[in-house]
Structures are given as structure tokens and as C-alpha cells.
Symmetry: C2
Subunit: 243 residues, 2 copies
Amino acid sequence: MHFTSEQRLDDGVLEREFTLGEIPGTLWTPESAGPVPLILMSHNNGLPRREARLVARARYTAAQGYAVVSIDAAGCGDRPRSAAAEQARAELGRAMRAGDPVDRIDEIFESLVGPLVENAVPEWRATLDAVLELPGIEGPVGYTSWTALGIRLAAVEPRIAAVGFFAGGYVPRAQREEARQVTVPLLFLLQWDDEGNPRQRALDLFDAFGSKEKTLHANLGGHLGTPRFELVDGDRFFGRHLK
Amino acid sequence: MHFTSEQRLDDGVLEREFTLGEIPGTLWTPESAGPVPLILMSHNNGLPRREARLVARARYTAAQGYAVVSIDAAGCGDRPRSAAAEQARAELGRAMRAGDPVDRIDEIFESLVGPLVENAVPEWRATLDAVLELPGIEGPVGYTSWTALGIRLAAVEPRIAAVGFFAGGYVPRAQREEARQVTVPLLFLLQWDDEGNPRQRALDLFDAFGSKEKTLHANLGGHLGTPRFELVDGDRFFGRHLK
């Protein structure tokens, strides 16, 4: 893990850019001294890790006393584009806007997101290894955001102690089947009118998780309408399980 | 409103029993000086207002800086029993345990709970009038617990500024139709495996509310399994809207 820049922010959080092999990432750590838990904060839909909403969430979370790490997925953010993935992403957007049948969307989704999840898992595990070697970051480890990746990671990575997922109307078939293997405490966040995530499928996914302690929070509105108080609720959820 | 006893509790909360005409009730107020908001805390299923879980919730809420008032519904708690209601309640319990068809349960439910809601509304409005005349209790007013009554009260009572409902798989037909008239901020609490509240009907009810700001919290487990952290979440919800 090689740090390429660092900046102390207004809220006392230290923001450090790094590379780990070819993976670019950002690590946010709080001002507080003692050892802190770690939260892996991912994001799907080809968003860069520097997207403003994601950065704001990471900074808020770090200021509450966590180390937060994010990396760009292959083909996203600072990483080289893949023509095939860009094309599949454009086709997925077109099909969703056109209201294509669920089966057709599933098919494009599977071909795009299935491999993305497969490739992201070893990168996130390598990142987890590297960050936990840094002084003052001891775990336990939480995971938040991208549902499909989180299902696979929680199923294979015993160091993950709690997960917060968002949306989840579309996830690859393999992760729908793996959902029952997720057994850690889980907070599932759903936008009731999310145009890109069929509500019933998201509810079915919530039902499928194997966790004995799982909570669904649903709010009125579309994909980007999550109310700000859910940030505080997410912090309280991780506080119960990681602190 | 005639106070019949008072007791200062360990947490500083003042617990006062009262009668308002033939209605027996309890008022909990916090130690703090200044004016406080008011929460109407109801309960259905023929529970007495002195039921231990309800009292614990009322005391916790009062200690967070609210006046909390509860009254016994007709035929419940300290009030004279009605043979017809007792029989309908026994029949409802039997039908639920036996897994009778939803239509049959609806029919018994309608005959029992429909009139209960009708009769409870003027009693709760009279209670609201009386409590708001007491010094130091100024509103705004929140309502929590019994879904069917809360729908009717929120639809007819403009002083109610926020509502927290629980369960809601079975509510009388009139209240299912009135749900769209509920337009204040709403927190809807659902137990995912509540044996007595069909999940899909509760989700349909959540969907029907007219509120622009509504949040669903669902947790794994049966009717009595609501996790303790929901008490804190409920307090934060009312804090956003009443304080």
C-alpha cells in the first residue's frame, strides 16, 4: 500500500489517497487516537470513489470514529475504461429508461455486474489485508453500500462483522442465491419508489438473507432520495456491532 | 381531569393516574422544567394501559423530554368488561391460532375493532384537550402504537403532527381507506414474521399512507420481538418532528 497524498480536513478527518498495485483508493481516518474499527465503503453503477455524495458519507462516517476505505472498481474512477463494460452499462441504462422487461434487464445486468463482482472480491480482500496492517486500525470490520459485492464478501470473508446494503432490486443470480449465506447483522436500506430497483425483488432479497438480526429501512422517494437521517441510523447500526 | 395519585420514579419521571369522566388514564411527565411536546401512546388488543411493556416504553419516552399520556380503551384495563367484546376477542384469538382464512378473520376483526376505534376517537380527543390545558405541556402532539386508531385520529385531528404505527396487517376497512388521508410524517414499525399480521397487507398499508415523509422499519421476528434499539429510533423520529 503506497500513499500518494494526504490532507487534513475541516472535521479533523485525515484523507489519504493510495495505490495498492493497480488499485487506486482513499482512506479516511478520524482524529481520535486509539484503535478504530474499519468500514469498507463500496459503490456500484460505475461510480468513481471520488463521487461527491460518497465522499461526504465517508467523511461523516470517519468523523464518527471509524477508518473508512474505498477503492475504484475495475473500469471506474481513475482506472482504465473497458469498452465492453461501457457498452453494457450504456445498454443497461437504455433498457431501464425504456422500461424493458425484467428478464432482458436481468440478462444485461448479469453480463455486466456478474464479472464486476467476481473481479472486485479479491481486490477488496487485498485492500482489507493492507488496511488492517496499518497502525491504529484494528477492526472489527463493517461493509456498506454495493449490495451484490457485499453479499459475496460477507459470504466468503469471516472478518466482516456487520453489513449495510442499499437498494438491491437487481443483483446477479449468484448473489441472490448466496444471500442466505450472509449471517452477520444487516441493515438493508430501500427507496420505496426507486425506479431502477423493483421493490418486490428488493423485499424478497431482504427476506432471503440468513442473518438472525436484520433490519429493513424503507423511505419514500427515488434512488437518490435517501433522507439524511439514514446516515445517522447507519452510524448507530455500526456503533452497535463494531464498537 | 382529576388526578387520583402521583409518584416520582427513579428516572425523575412523574407518573400520575387520572380519571376524565369515566376514562381512566396515566400521564408521565419529565423532570425538566420548560414546556414539552405531548405523545399520545395507545395500545390495542385489549391490553391495559398498565401492561409492563407499555409502561416501560412510556417512561423511557417521558424521560427523553415528552409528556406521555395513555388511557384504557372501553372494556380494557380498569374499565367494565363488555361480554360481547370479550367473546369477539376470544373468537378472534381462536381463529388466528387455527389459521382461519383471512376473510373470516377480517369479519371478526371488523365487528370487534371497528366499533372500538369509533368509540376511542372522541375519548382520545377529550384527553388531548384536557392534557394540553395542563401547565408545561404545549405540544406539538405525536401519536404512537395502535395503527387503526392512529389512522382515524391523524385523519380527523389537525393537532397531531407526527405518528408512529406498529404492525398493521389487520386494520378495519374504514381505516384502510382513510390511510391516504394521513399526511403527517410517519414511522411504520413492522415485525417481519408477525404471526398475527400478514406481511403483505402491512406493506400495502404502508404504501397507502398519504404522507410525503414516511419510513418503514422492519425487523426479523414475531409480534413481541421488536428490538430495543427501535425505542431509540422512535425517540429520534419524534425528536425530528416535535422538538
